[in-house]
Symmetry: C2
Subunit: 157 residues, 2 copies
C-alpha cells in the first residue's frame, strides 16, 4: 500500500515462525501488546486501543526507576485483520491533527511457508525526522521489541 | 464520529435541497469538485483524488491574475459513500506524515426531509491554529464555496 522511500523511512523485516493471526493478536490485544511493545527493562503500563480507523492508539511507558513520560494519543489508520495495521502520531483520536506528529507505522503480515513475513515500515515527513529516529535508537529499540514479539508469538502457537 | 470541540474546531452546517448522493458526487467526482470547491474568482485548476483511505487529496488553485500557489497533497481518511468523507493535510498520500499539517476536514451527509443536512467540521491541533484559520477567512471562504456547492448540487437534481 505504501511506497517505501529509503531517504525518509525506516524498516524492520523478519520471517517469524508464527501465524499472521497470532502476530495480529500480539499487536491488537492490549494485554498481549503490553508484553512485548517496549524494550525491557522498560514496560508498557497502560494501553488504549480502539481498533477502528480513527480510534485511539496510546501506549504509556514506565521505566525501571519509575519514569513515566507523558504518553501521546495517536490514531489508528488501517485495520485489516491478520494483514495490515497502521497508526500515526501525526493525528490524535478521531483524526484530529497533532502539533508534534512525527511518524506513521505500517505493519504488514504476509503468510510465508508455515510462518509470516513481518514488515514494519515507519514513515517520516523529512530525512531529518528519519535521522532523529535513528539517533533515538530506532534499530535497537524496535529490534529488541521485535525479539520480544517473536518470543511471545512463538510461545503462543 | 468526531467529538467537536468549540475551542479547537470550526463548523459549517446547512440543510440543502439535494440528496446525499448528489452532494457526495459533488465532493468526490473531480470534475464536479472543480466547479465549486474554490471561491470565485479563484478556481480549481487541477484535482487528484484517490477515493480510498490513504489515497491522495490534492486541489490546485489558480487566482484571477494567474496566481498558482504550490498545491499540497493531503490524505483521504474516511470514505463512506453518501454519508461521510474525511481528509487531512497532516498526512500525505499513503499516510506519510507532513511537516506542515494544519487541519482535518470531516464532511457528513444526513438525509433530512427531501434534502440533506450537510455538516463540515474542520479540526485543528490547537486554538491558535483554529484562530489562524478564522483569520485566513474560513467563514467567508468555506461559506462562499458552500454557496457554490448548493448551486451546483441543486442544479444537478
Amino acid at each position: 500500500m505504501t511506497d517505501f522511500d529509503d531517504t525518509l523511512d525506516l524498516r524492520l523485516e523478519r520471517v517469524i515462525a508464527a501465524s499472521p493471526e497470532t502476530l495480529w493478536r500480539c499487536w491488537t490485544d492490549p494485554e498481549l501488546l503490553k508484553q512485548w511493545f517496549c524494550p525491557r527493562p522498560w514496560k508498557v503500563s497502560h494501553v488504549e486501543l480502539d481498533l477502528r480507523p480513527g480510534g485511539i492508539f496510546l501506549t504509556a511507558m514506565e521505566g525501571p526507576e519509575g519514569e513515566r513520560p507523558e504518553p501521546e494519543a495517536g490514531c489508528v489508520l488501517a485495520v485489516e485483520p491478520a494483514r495490515l495495521f497502521a497508526f500515526t502520531d501525526s493525528l490524535g483520536p478521531d483524526y484530529r491533527p497533532r502539533a508534534s506528529g512525527f511518524m506513521t507505522a505500517v505493519i504488514s503480515f504476509t503468510p510465508e511457508g508455515t510462518g509470516t513475513r513481518y514488515v514494519a515500515r515507519v514513515l517520516h515527513a523529512t530525512a531529518k525526522d528519519r535521522q532523529a529516529h535513528l539517533d533515538m535508537g530506532f534499530e535497537q529499540g524496535w529490534g529488541t521489541a521485535l525479539d520480544q514479539l517473536v518470543e511471545l508469538a512463538t510461545g503462543l502457537e
